[in-house]
Symmetry: C2
Subunit: 429 residues, 2 copies
């Protein structure tokens, strides 16, 4: 039995599965012609997404353009790979149906293009997958099976299921047909921009960055290609350190669609020789980047897509000053229930929300006095809660979530409060 | 003194101000040439926003294309009007500086283009304006004054202030230079689309819809132009009923940037003769439309921009079946703190969140049993709270916020719960 209690995927378990499918590290198998061929095969089924100038990100530093794959058919670049994969399948394989497991973006894409091409799709996801995801796949007529306690277990269940029912099992990463499709992002960028010095790309298992790198460096060798991944799932960073793909233990993070446990071999073979820079960014910078993308650029993106912007905001690409930079907004498939906490986290990190727990003496008018103090200082109260505890003194704890102008305004308010009250916690969310 | 306590703007007060500025109802003053002239003057300072195909909205019903003014320089179409207004100002007027009051989108635009053109800008806003708004204007070097308890009072303060300091007062609505700028949205649409049967446009004081109507109907008379406004601020609907602009009492609503108290006279003169249909939509449909625009189209929009989509979702345009329809996404300047409650409201209205208050007997394991019941039925618990009250029986009230697949799934869960428990409230948020 695979699912015995709730456990994290282990490296051993993953390696076991991994060996079932992957070949060994060798030369680069993906060719520019494969990407050009994919472009011709899929161009009528996918969206040639717009390349839009940034209005705020990079202002006074460099020229930033967004390649809007969040506006792709199924909300991410995965549509391109899946569309090419299906276009290259034999009729006999198609007629057996396809069984898949993997991330939200891949599964949304394969469900959608399965329906478009009348191919039955079986999606296997872990038992705790979000309801909204299940519903999305079902809308595209996919059969959804909830098996296993995590992504690795679901993947093994999918493999077993496909054998049982005789359908075609498709791995969600590193297949050459997928990479060739992803690479069309690079081809399109080259037709959309005259001056191009660098491309910043979010990185999960490395498929997008590798294929875009291959397309662009072949045609425009001087263009820099940077990869950016989340510090809680540094898959490619680790592979580059170890000089081979190695399974890593990922931790839950905002850029969840990048949480791949191992770099794809085909991707690694491209990345290792040619990637100009690999950057990691933490959740705090990703949430700040998302707030900027929402508020200033009006771009609805998922955490993964915000990683390159996070790298810019965090000052990790000083060498790009004055350059023409394309940032790939890889996708926009964020769960609606996660939007609010991410915005709140970003505003806290920006210093525009301030969370304070203040101990006050419980006497008539004491809460009103505290409230008066913060509002007179120009803060706006978003929420207030109060805890009485059975202490020997008559103190109560009041927790305030305050909207302030910026971090220096927040600082000023803190100083005013600290003068008169005991502040036990600041920004603890 | 204007600000005596917190009162709503009265019709009388507004009419008083209104008469200071407006002319009488007469013939149409805006000409196509004004819009063409505006286009030439502003084209290098504004963004020719993309027209993007909808992926979900209108699917299986008609072809929808989004004119993305949310991606305009300052996040709304107002940039076009303000840019043209400034382009037409005499050097002497510019050098005195400009004093303004009005909505967020107008003030963001004038602050931005004031800075671009080295014109000092004084912004007068009510005392309770959101902090984030003030901060945005200040970032563009505007001087921000917080005067008056509401928009009308702020407007009167602005007028007085401009007289005191000798700066140029600019009204935020109905000026011909503004309308001519807004009309360039219509000109651009005509260059971006081959087949066009109808344009759906959000409506506040009527400036955008009137100017777009004039541009499009002059060049393509058979194209339908529809206006959509929020049922809590039915400004133009009321004007059309009364056959003249009349001040109305607006109520707080999700589409706050449309909350104008009176239709502009210049706009009304165009609308009354030529608008094909005027539609109102309620807050519930607007929140549902916003969720669809975020989730399915990855379009970050404000409530106003979602009104035409709300009209489509609510089935208010059945005659557009099979047509080619452009929806103007007028802006994306939504306060970050409002995003979460709007999404929650939209999901509740969609039936994807379910809010239940259940009375249970307070015995060991009773809450765990209730939780088991809802999770076994496939719901995901977003929040739970419990209230003990000093009643004669030992009952407690448990309030659950549940994520469910859709409304029929929610219905099924309700039925299961109702069988065993007393359900006192459903969807009360």
């Amino acid at each position: 039995m695979l699912c015995q209690g709730r456990s994290s995927p282990t490296k051993e378990k993953y390696a076991m599965e991994h060996n079932l499918i992957h070949g060994s590290i060798s030369n680069i198998k993906l060719k520019l012609e494969d990407i050009q061929d994919a472009h011709n095969k899929i161009k009528n089924q996918i969206i040639a997404t717009p390349l839009l100038d940034a209005k705020y990100i990079g202002k006074y530093f460099c020229k930033v353009m967004f390649k809007c794959e969040n506006l792709q058919t199924t909300g991410s670049f995965k549509a391109r790979g899946v569309c090419n994969l299906i276009a290259n399948m034999e009729t006999s394989e198609r007629s057996k149906g396809i069984t898949v497991s993997g991330g939200r973006n891949f599964l949304s894409a394969i469900s959608y293009y399965g329906l478009q091409n009348s191919i039955p799709i079986n999606v296997v996801i872990p038992k705790d997958a979000p309801l909204a995801d299940k519903q999305r796949y079902r809308e595209s007529s996919a059969i959804v099976k909830c098996l296993g306690c995590d992504a690795t277990e679901a993947s093994l269940h999918a493999l077993n299921f496909s054998r049982d029912v005789g359908s075609t099992f498709v791995r969600s990463t590193d297949k050459l047909e997928l990479l060739a499709g992803y690479g069309t992002v690079g081809l399109e960028i080259l037709t959309q921009v005259d001056k191009l010095d660098a491309v910043l790309c979010p990185v999960g298992s490395g498929g997008l960055v590798a294929s875009v790198l291959l397309a662009i460096k072949t045609l425009k060798p001087n263009c820099l290609i940077y990869g950016v991944e989340c510090s809680l799932s540094p898959t490619v960073t680790k592979a580059l350190q170890e000089k081979k793909p190695v399974p890593i233990q990922t931790k839950p993070n905002i850029a969840d669609s990048l949480s791949e446990m191992i770099t794809g071999t085909n991707s690694y073979n491209i990345i290792r020789g040619y990637l100009d820079k690999m950057i990691t960014v933490d959740d705090t910078w990703i949430s700040r980047a998302m707030v900027k993308l929402f508020e200033r650029e009006k771009m609805f993106v998922e955490g993964a897509a915000a990683c390159p912007v996070a790298a810019m905001l965090a000052g990790k690409v000083p060498e790009l000053r004055g350059k023409n930079v394309v940032v790939i907004l890889s996708g926009g498939n964020i769960n609606s229930n996660r939007v609010a906490p991410i915005i709140e986290r970003g505003l806290l990190a920006e210093g525009r929300l301030l969370n304070l727990t203040v101990t006050i003496y419980d006497s008539p008018g004491s809460i009103a006095k505290l409230i008066g103090r913060v509002t007179d200082a120009g803060a706006d109260i978003r929420s207030i809660s109060e805890t009485k505890s059975a202490q020997k003194d008559l103190s109560i704890k009041v927790t305030l979530l305050l909207e302030v102008n910026d971090s220096s305004h927040g600082e000023e308010i803190q100083q005013k409060i600290v003068k008169d009250y005991t502040v036990s916690e600041i920004n603890s969310i």
